[in-house]
């Protein structure tokens, strides 16, 4: 197949990617959108296999078979609560593949076997793709380990980490300049990829679990940019288009997540928020004797008399896999004529939109999953708010202007405006931001201590008996 014909097919693939992403603007068209994008990918892969430069298919077939098996198993075995880490690791694989493939292209070009000449565009794109791909690979691996609980989700703060990071970046730049100026050996490239991989680890390890929505978005952008860089190396249009689309998606989500926390990207990446946590004893002092705790039966009675109930889920719902128990409770309340809605904070959970996926899994219709700005004005007319495993996103301290509070200025769910609030939580321990929550001692607030799933089931049982 001629290069022109291949490029035309690449154009079709690129258009399908754009249609695919466009389809995601509504749940009704989203499944089709994803199908379009997958079709675009299939077209791009098939026409590439017809490239005359490919002389042997054994390695390709072996790689595709092994990769597809791993991909299918991971995609179908993963529980919905594990989606953040699954997306993180897939993302890391994409970034890593870009770095390695660019390295392989460089090796081939040095042997003189490659059609593209080694010019400035080639080398600059190669080092960029290697750098970003390396960071994206190890960074995603660390994010995966944190989310999977393999290593601590708390920030790990090394002494002098900023100096170390700057030094590593400078080394990467120096090696990159070396390769661009003197492109006779691939050694600087591989050392640079090694240093970039170390940098990826050091950049993600000081970031705490609840900031993962930002990290995953950013790493996603990186793997897109690495793919685009790979496209520059090969002068391949579809790689450039797809890579920059993904880069744009990642950067937009990163910006949305930062805005939802009222923090700058630099603050999320470098400040190590969440490292200092108020101890259990201290928070006991703050709340001493002022917390009203309730039993599932009392909560059931409150719900029985309610007209409108809003459920505000957080990461705790994911941890205890409470989404199905919440669904049962919702169905029962609705059968009793109670209006039930869900309040979804943009950074609730461990990745953008995490709560929506869990609740959709539990068959909650999507028009009930309401965004913060949409639901906030309705708390005033709400009888009971059930906060399920959320803390910082409902903490009224965020309204304080005091900049020493890590969540100062973060838009929150105004659950305290409701007639009464029930917080399902295992203890009074602070949320990720490490600060006390005055909501717990508010007059209209009751604490229901226990595991989210068990408590939701207990409330449902109590309602059925009544």
């Amino acid at each position: 197949m001629s290069k022109e014909l291949i490029d035309l097919f690449y154009l079709i693939a690129a258009v399908l990617f754009i249609f695919g992403l466009k389809g995601l603007s509504h749940p009704r068209t989203a499944v089709r959108g994803n199908f379009f994008a997958a079709l675009g990918m299939l077209i791009a892969i098939v026409v590439t296999l017809l490239d005359k430069r490919i002389i042997s298919f054994e390695v390709i077939i072996a790689g595709i078979v092994v990769g597809a098996l791993i991909g299918v198993v991971m995609a179908y075995k993963a529980p919905m609560t594990a989606i953040p880490q699954v997306v993180a690791i897939f993302n890391g694989f994409g970034g890593g593949a870009s770095a390695l493939a660019v390295g392989a292209a460089l090796e081939e070009a040095l042997k003189g076997g490659f059609i593209e000449a080694i010019d400035m565009q080639f080398t600059i794109a190669a080092v960029s793709s290697g750098l970003i791909g390396g960071v994206s690979f190890t960074g995603s691996a660390i994010a995966f380990a944190k989310l999977q609980g393999l290593i601590t989700g708390k920030p790990v703060l090394l002494r002098g980490r900023h100096v170390i990071n700057v030094a590593l970046i400078l080394i990467c730049i120096a090696l990159s300049v070396w390769l661009v100026v003197d492109s006779t050996s691939s050694m600087p490239f591989w050392i640079m990829v090694g240093v970039a991989s170390l940098l990826g680890i050091l950049l993600v390890i000081p970031i705490g679990g609840a900031d993962m929505p930002v990290v995953i978005s950013l790493l996603n952008a990186y793997s897109g940019i690495a793919a685009a860089g790979h496209g520059w190396v090969l002068n391949n249009s579809v790689l450039i288009v797809a890579g920059s689309l993904v880069g744009a998606a990642g950067f937009i989500l990163t910006a949305i997540m930062c805005r939802a926390m009222n923090r700058s990207l630099a603050n999320v990446i470098f400040a190590g928020v969440g490292a200092v946590v108020t101890t259990e004893v201290e928070s006991d002092d703050i709340y001493a004797g002022r917390v009203k705790s309730a039993s599932p039966e009392e909560v059931a009675m409150m719900l029985e008399g309610a007209q409108r109930v809003v459920i505000a889920p957080g990461y705790g719902m994911a941890v205890s896999q409470a989404q199905y128990a919440i669904q049962d409770l919702t169905n029962l309340l609705e059968s009793m004529g109670v209006e039930v809605d869900f309040a979804i904070h943009p950074v609730a959970g461990r990745m953008p939109g995490h709560m929506n996926v869990l609740l959709a899994e539990a068959n909650i219709p999507y028009e009930k999953l309401r965004e913060m700005d949409d639901i906030n004005p309705t708390f005033r007319h709400t009888d009971v708010v059930l906060v399920v495993g959320a803390n910082d996103v409902v903490n009224p301290m965020a309204r304080e202007a005091d900049q020493s509070i890590p969540i100062a200025g973060m838009p929150i769910l105004n659950v305290d405006e409701a007639r009464s609030i029930v917080i399902i939580k295992r203890s009074l321990s602070p949320g990720f931001a490490g600060i006390a929550n005055p909501l717990f001692v508010a007059d209209n607030c009751l604490m229901l201590f226990g595991d989210a799933k068990k408590m939701a089931m207990d409330i449902t049982a109590a309602l059925k008996q009544a």
Binding site: G20, L21, L24, P27, A30, V31, G33, N34, A37, M41, A44, I45, T48, D51, I54, S56, V59, I60, G63, G67, V72, A75, M80, I83, V87, F90, N91, A97, L100, A101, A104, E107, E108, K111, N220, G224, A226, A227, H230, L234, N235, I240, A242, G243, L245, V246, G247, A248, A249, G250, I252, L253, I344, M351, P352, H354, N356, V357, N363, P365
Partner: protein, 96 residues
């Protein structure tokens, strides 16, 4: 230089298209958006195919194999997990 400018044009225009299309995605679908976009970034597979199929040296063959495997995991896993998620979103009427 011609090739460079053409590639740069594509890159910049694609970034703009990306921004336009993606800002319209509601927060409801941010997780599938991320995982779908992530699957698209597996497009790097296309590049790995060319380099690994040339089989110039043992080194590039091994690198090619690893890169093809990793990129395929990204593509196949990414699209499937996105599909699994999207299939769960439904309206009230078809709630059975």
């Amino acid at each position: 230089m011609d090739v460079f400018v053409a590639a740069l044009t594509i890159f910049v225009l694609a970034l703009f298209v990306g921004f336009e299309v993606i800002t319209k995605v509601p927060p409801l679908l941010h997780t599938p958006l991320m995982s779908g976009a992530n699957a698209i970034s597996g497009i790097t597979l296309v590049g790995t195919l060319v380099t690994s199929g040339m089989q110039l040296t043992t080194l590039t063959t091994i690198l090619g194999f690893i890169a093809v495997t990793m990129a395929t995991v990204n593509v196949v896993g990414g699209f499937l997990v996105t599909h699994r998620m999207l299939a769960m979103f439904h309206k009230k009427e078809d709630n059975v």
